[in-house]
């Protein structure tokens, strides 16, 4: 991104003031990733487009709730996609466990982001394929828990039942798997 282009934070601040052109710029900048993630989560293109449309609609309606001091825009956007898609997946499975959007949104934004460092810059330049390689390198048991939770929207109870493992084991695998993912990415790509 060249220096004369507005940052995401600048654009979302303008969107909060009902600036349609700023919204269009954010859309053009992020829609491919949003649609890619939504389609990956929902498992089909039409459903992915519906989630993507609802995601950007929420960006428009809730732009004022985004606080750039507490997190970056793409993380916020990905969390919206994920919440919407998981709600839809759980609804399709006949679940009544909607993720409470407002609570989640405020929760995420209430967590101050760590200051950008070398590792953060590494993350920013990673491509999807590189992250998939690192995911594949995780111990199977940890990767399985991450994928069942993130991509299939299973709760920890459901994962425990599915894998016939104690709940505590699922918690540990999720925590260790997420930490290990970063370690692997540093090993693979920070040289």
């Amino acid at each position: 991104m060249t220096t004369d282009q507005p940052t995401d934070a600048q654009l979302i601040a303008r969107v909060a003031r009902r600036d349609r052109s700023a919204f269009e710029q954010l859309y053009e900048r992020h829609v491919r990733h949003v649609l890619g993630l939504a389609t990956r989560l929902i498992g089909e293109r039409a459903g992915g487009e519906e989630i993507a449309q609802e995601t950007f609609w929420r960006v428009w309606k809730r732009a004022e709730s985004f606080d750039a001091r507490r997190g970056n825009f793409s993380t916020w956007l990905a969390s919206i996609v994920h919440h919407l898609a998981i709600d839809e997946l759980r609804r399709r499975r006949g679940h009544a466990i909607p993720i409470e959007w407002d609570a989640d949104e405020s929760q995420l934004l209430s967590l101050p982001d760590p200051a950008p460092d070398t590792q953060e810059r590494v993350w920013a330049n990673l491509q999807g394929a590189q992250i998939r390689i690192a995911l594949a390198e995780l111990p199977d048991a940890q990767r399985q828990v991450i994928e069942l939770a993130y991509f299939e929207g299973l709760t920890h109870l459901e994962i425990s039942e599915r894998l016939q493992e104690p709940l505590g084991t699922i918690h540990t695998r999720a925590r260790l798997g997420l930490a290990k993912l970063k370690e692997l990415l540093i090993e693979l790509y920070s040289q």
Partner: protein, 232 residues
Amino acid sequence: MQVIDQMGFDPNSHVDELIGVYALDALSADERRTVARHLRVCSRCRALANEALSSVDLVAHSADPIAPSPELKDRLLAQIDADLALSRSRQQPFGALFATPARTFAFAVTLAVMVGLFVFGLSLRTFNLPAQSAPPGAQAQLIAIPSLPTGLLRVSGLTKLGAEQTYEVWLIRNGNPESALMFNVDPEGKVDLWVNYDEPIGNIEQMGITIERAGGSSTPNLNAFVFYGALH
């Protein structure tokens, strides 16, 4: 909070073990709320949660980008234009916005055009009724979305009638005329009126305006059509 309660979870104790499933959105709403409450007051667990959440952000970016269809942007921008139009209308005095049928219709049409055209595939049409015995220059237009049961009739150039007469609007389908409404024009010969039908306007085959005795008629005076024509 069922599981947390079963585990004997104390809201004041650290939540290390739950950080991974929390970051992955794998807790119930109650469980999430309990963890979030703790994170608000515990910087140690909050730092762990940040780490886990940034890893989840990486997982999110493992999906390959996909180019959207042009329609996705069209639909979104149509939604946003409608939202902006609604916001602007809210800033106007209510009375001003709906002071006349024309203004009300203009507002409805603005929304319909912006949302309907793109999202629902609706189309706005103007039907010009052919003059029969109307004064030169007189016009009657029905502006409507054919799939909706309401349209705006805009009349101009007619003579204002005396108390003993009325203009009557006829909607005709399968050869059967139904009286829709009666009206008179203002001193300038104009009037804007809502026309309501019990089916989509597009189902009406012909439309006419006659001059009848005050109080209206059950059938149109065939010799008194001011305007008459097909709506196709």
